[in-house]
Symmetry: C2
Subunit: 555 residues, 2 copies
C-alpha cells in the first residue's frame, strides 16, 4: 500500500482554513497515486484547542468539517484526527479520535487511550480515555491506528511507565501489519533523536512498519517540529518530512526489499542550535500571523538578547516588517548606539532612536515628594524600563505592530527584568533560551558572515540602568547560573541535590529563592516559545502565595 504522510500547520479553530489545507494535501496524495493519506492528531481543529473544547458549537463545527471532508475527498483513503463526542452519558464528554474514511464513508474510528496530563498537556481535562485497540483491515493491510501518546508507553523503553496499558502491544496482538501513529508531538532539544529511537525500536520489536504523521507549526508557546516519518519493519527510516514547515512524504509498505525512497528523506536540521533557531523563527511567525498581525516592533539595547530577537523577527516576518527602537538614557554607552545601528543595517530592519531622559526626569520630579527620604534604588531602574515599555507599546498601538519582548530564560528565572517594563510584549521570543545558549545562537548566525556585530557578542552584559552596571554585579557568572537553573527548573533537583553536585550552598539558596520569589513576574509574562523540556509558562504551574523555599531555609 502506498501511503502519503501529510504534515500541515493548522490554525486553531479556523475550520475553513484547516479544511482547505487538508483538501490540498489529499489532492497531492491522489496525484501521486497513493492508496491512503495520513494527517496528524486533531488536525481538523488544530492542537491544542484547550478550553475551546468546552464550547458545544466548536465541537459541532469540527464534526461538520469532518463531514465535509468525508463528502469531498474521494478516491483515496484518509486517516485524520478530530474531536468526537462521547455518546455515553457518563465520563468526560469528548474523545480525542482518529477516523479512516474513503469515498463518502467512515470505515473506522479509534479513540486515544493514553491521555497526556503533564507539562503543557491537559488531555484528561477534556477527554475520556478510549477502551479499544482493534486494527482495521484495509487494502491488504491490517492498520493499527494509535494517537500520539498511545505509542509512548513501551516497557522496554520507559523504565517508569505512567500508564497501565500499551496500545501498541494490543494492536499487534490484534494482528496489525502496519502501525499508524497520528501525533501532535512538540519540539524540544533532543526530542528528535528520542523519537527516532522509540519508533525504530517499536517497528523492529514487532516487525511491522510504523507511520508517524506529526503536526507542524507554532501554537502559542508550543512548537511542533513536524519531521513526520515512516519506519520500515527493521526500524529504518524510509521517509522523513522536513522540520518546521509543511511537507508531504510517501511510503510504500509493499516494498519489503528496502527500496530507499531517497527523494522522500528530506533534509532536516543538522544540529541542535540550527533546530532551535528554526523553531524560534517558525514560532515567531506563527504567533504573529495567527494572531492577525504582520508587523512587529522591539527595543534594541545594544545587547545580545535584543540583537538575537531582531534577527529572528526579520527571518520570521521579513525585515521590512520589523521596527527596532533604540532608547538611550544617560547611562547608555556610545558603543551601544553604534552597535544597534549597525545591527539594524545588517539585517535591514527599521530603526528609530527615542531618548528617555526627559520623561525620566519628569517622573522623578513628580515622585520625589512621595519617595521622601532614601537613596535611588531599584525603583528608579524600574521607572526607566517602564518608560521604554510604554514607548514601545505606544508604537505598537499606533502602528498596529505586535511588540516582541527580548528577555532570555536566565533573567526571567531570577527576575532580572522589569514587569511592565522590558517584559512588555505579546510574545517573549527567547524566554526559553538560557543566556549561555543565546551566545551559541548568535555565533551560529554569524557562522558565515558577521550579521550580529562582534562587539555585541563580546561586551559584558549590562542592563544600563545605573552607572557602570553589569549583570555580574547582581548575578553569578552565567555559566554557573545556567547550570543551577537547569538543575532546578528542568531536572527538578532540590537544593540538597544541587549542593551535592558541587555548587556553593549559599549560591544555590540565593538562586532558587530568587526563582521562587519571582514567580509573580512570570505569571504576568508574555507567552514564550518552548524549546527545552521545561519552559516557564503553561507547562510549569507554581503557586504564587507559598512559602516552601523560605520555610526550608528558616529551619
Amino acid at each position: 500500500m502506498k501511503t502519503a504522510i501529510a504534515q500541515i500547520n493548522p490554525v486553531i479553530g479556523d475550520f475553513e482554513y484547516n479544511f482547505s489545507r487538508i483538501k490540498h494535501y489529499a489532492d497531492k496524495a491522489k496525484a501521486h497515486s497513493c492508496d491512503m493519506v495520513v494527517f496528524s492528531e486533531l488536525v481538523i481543529s488544530g492542537y491544542p484547542p484547550r478550553d475551546l473544547l468546552e464550547k458545544k458549537d466548536f465541537i459541532e463545527a469540527n464534526l461538520s468539517c469532518l463531514s465535509r471532508l468525508v463528502d469531498e475527498i474521494r478516491g483515496i483513503g484518509v486517516i485524520c484526527g478530530f474531536v468526537d463526542r462521547n455518546p455515553v452519558d457518563e465520563g468526560k464528554p469528548l474523545y480525542n479520535s482518529a477516523v479512516l474514511f474513503e469515498n463518502g464513508k467512515i470505515l473506522h474510528r479509534v479513540n486515544k487511550r493514553l491521555l497526556p496530563t503533564y507539562d503543557v498537556f491537559d488531555e484528561s481535562r477534556y477527554f475520556e480515555a478510549g477502551t479499544e485497540c482493534t486494527p482495521y483491515g484495509y487494502k491488504g493491510e491490517k492498520i493499527g491506528i494509535t494517537i500520539c501518546e498511545d505509542v509512548w508507553n513501551d516497557k522496554d523503553i520507559f523504565q517508569k511507565r505512567i500508564y497501565h496499558i500499551n496500545p501498541v502491544d494490543l494492536m499487534i496482538k490484534g494482528g496489525a501489519s502496519l502501525l499508524v501513529n497520528i501525533s501532535a508531538s512538540p519540539f524540544h532539544v533532543g526530542k528528535k533523536e528520542f523519537r527516532w529511537d522509540l519508533f525504530g525500536a517499536i517497528a523492529r520489536k514487532y516487525k511491522v512498519p510504523l507511520i508517524f504523521a506529526n503536526q507542524v507549526g507554532g501554537n502559542d508557546s508550543i512548537l511542533f517540529d513536524g519531521m513526520s516519518a515512516a519506519f520500515d519493519k527493521d526500524g529504518k527510516i524510509r521517509a522523513l518530512a522536513r522540520d518546521f514547515e509543511e511537507d508531504i512524504i510517501f511510503y510504500d509498505s509493499d516494498e519489503q526489499t528496502g527500496m530507499t525512497y531517497e527523494e522522500n528523506i528530506h533534509k532536516v536540521s543538522g544540529s541542535d542550535v540550527e533546530s532551535v533557531l528554526k523553531a524560534l523563527i517558525m514560532g515567531t511567525r506563527d504567533y504573529v500571523v495567527k494572531c492577525g498581525f504582520s508587523k512587529v516592533v522591539l527595543g534594541l539595547s545594544g545587547g545580545i538578547d535584543s540583537a538575537l530577537t531582531a534577527f529572528i523577527a526579520a527571518k520570521a516576518l521579513g525585515s521590512e516588517n520589523v521596527l527596532s527602537v533604540f532608547m538611550p538614557s544617560g547611562y547608555t554607552s556610545v558603543d551601544n548606539f553604534e552597535d544597534t545601528k549597525k545591527l539594524a543595517g545588517n539585517i535591514g530592519i527599521g530603526f528609530e532612536v527615542i531618548p528617555v531622559d526627559g520623561v525620566f526626569k519628569e517622573f522623578i520630579r513628580l515622585l520625589s515628594p512621595s519617595f521622601r527620604e532614601g537613596e535611588p534604588d531599584i525603583t528608579e531602574q524600574n521607572i526607566q524600563a517602564r518608560i521604554r515599555g510604554t514607548i514601545l507599546m505606544a508604537l505598537s498601538n499606533r502602528q498596529g505592530r505586535l511588540l516582541l519582548s527580548t528577555g532570555n530564560k536566565s533573567e526571567l528565572a531570577v527576575g532580572y527584568c522589569t514587569l511592565y517594563g522590558d517584559m512588555n510584549g505579546g510574545l517573549a521570543v527567547i524566554s526559553d533560551i538560557p543566556k549561555t545558549e543565546v551566545y551559541g545562537l548568535a555565533r551560529f548566525i554569524n557562522r558565515e558572515e558577521e550579521i550580529i556585530p562582534a562587539r555585541i557578542i563580546e561586551k559584558a552584559p549590562s542592563a544600563e540602568l545605573k552607572p557602570d552596571q553589569t549583570d555580574q554585579d547582581d548575578l553569578p557568572p552565567y555559566e554557573i547560573l545556567d547550570s543551577i537553573l537547569k538543575g532546578y527548573i528542568e531536572d527538578l533537583k532540590g537544593a540538597g541535590e544541587l549542593v551535592k553536585s558541587g555548587f556553593d550552598p549559599k549560591l544555590v539558596e540565593d538562586v532558587i529563592s530568587r526563582v521562587d520569589r519571582n514567580e509573580y513576574k512570570r505569571h504576568q509574562a508574555a507567552p514564550g516559545l518552548k524549546v527545552t523540556t521545561k519552559a516557564f509558562g503553561y507547562g510549569r504551574r507554581y503557586p504564587l502565595a507559598q512559602r516552601y523555599t523560605q520555610s526550608i531555609y528558616k529551619k
Copy 2:
C-alpha cells in the same frame, strides 16, 4: 464517638506553620474530650500545591511533617490529608491521601479515587487514582473516609456523571456507619446551598452521618470558604463551622436522638453579597500576607471599582496599611477629587495626589515624530493609563507595598482596560465581579452608613482618558453586557444560543469577539479572586493564537 472538625488555613509549603496549626487544633479537640479530630484534604502541604508536587524534597518534607504529627499528637485519633508516594513503579507517582493515626501509629490509609481535572483543578496531572474503598473500624464506628471529589458523583444528584464509580456507595456496601469527607472545596456563589443539598441527600439516602472537613483561606485565586459541617443520618446539619475563617466544631455520632449542639452551629453569611464580600476580604488578606507583604497601594479614580477595592483592602489589612493615590489629568472632573478624598477619609486610608499631565506631555512631545500623521486615538489613552501604572509601581517598589489592581470582570472580559497600565498589580481584587454586581457590593457596604460616597455610586462610569468620555460610549449598557458575558463565559453558550435567548445578533458578535480578541491581555493579568463558577485565569484556558470566533463570522 465525639468528633472535632478542625478547619484551618494552611500556607502552601510552610510545613512548620501548618504543623503548628494542626497541633494547636488537635490540642483543642483533646481539651474538649474528643475521640477523634478531622482535618481537611492535603492539610499538611496546603491545597493546591500544584507543581511543587513534582519536587521530591517537597514530598519528603510533607511525609516527615506527617511523621512528626503522628509522633507528637497523642491521646486522640486524627484524620488528615497528605501527599503519599505511589509505591508501584507504574502510574502517576503520587496519591492524594488521607490517614487515620493515633498514639504514634498509623491505623488506616485511603487514596482519593475521583481526581477532579477541570476548571481550576489539575489532579490527574499529579495523582494516581486510588482503587479501594474500605471502611475502617474505630471506636465503635466503621469510618468510611473519602476525599473531596469522592462524594461528588452520586447518580441521584448528578445527571451527567464524569466518573464511573461512586466511592460513597462502595463505602456503604463495605459497612460504613460514619462517612468522613476531607475536602478542599472552593467557594463560589451558590456552592454552599448545593453542598448542603448534596451532603444532606447522601446522609439521608444511606442513613449514616456525614462529616465534612473543609479547608478555609485563600490560595492565590482560589478561595476556600470553610463551613465544615456534620450532617446527621437524616441529613440535618448538626454542626456548622464559620465561613471564611478558621474554626472548630464538634459532633457526637452516638447521640441518635437529635441533640442539636446549637453551640456548634456557627453563624455564616446570610446572603450571597455578604459571602462575596467576606470572600474578597479573606482572599486579599491571604494573598498579601502569604506573599510576605503587609501593606498595599492602589489607585483611586473616583469611580466605584477602585472605591470598592479600597474598602476591601482596608478591611483585609487594616486601613493604616493601605495607601491610595489619586492621579488626575486634564480630563479628570473636580467631583472625582472630592469624592476620592472623602472616600479615603471615610475608610481612614492614606491618600496622595499625583497629577500625570506633566509626564504625559513629555511622552507626547517625545513620541510625536514617530506618530507622524493621525489624530489622537487609543494610543494616547493607553499612555495615560501606563503613566499611572508606572507611578503606582514606583510607590510599590519604594515602599514595599503590593499593588492592587481595581478592574472588574466586565471590563477585563471585553478588554476595556490597559495592559501595563490600570491592569498593573500583584492581585486583581474584583476581577471576577461583573460591573452590575460591583454596585450591589457597594450598596451592601453602605447599608448602615455612607462609607462609599453616594456620588461615586451614582455617577456614570468613565475611564476619563479623553474629554467627556463615558463607558457607554464604547460599551453596551452594563446590564445587557453582563448578561451576555455570563452566558458566554460562565454558561459556555455559543453565539447562536445567545441570539436565541433574545440578544441582538450584532451585539452578541461584538461582545464575544471582544472577549476572544482580548485573551492576550488576560494572559498577562494579575491573579484575581474567584467567586463565580468561571473566573478568568487558572480555570479558563484559551489559546491566544486562534481564529474560532473570526472564522464563524467570516462564513
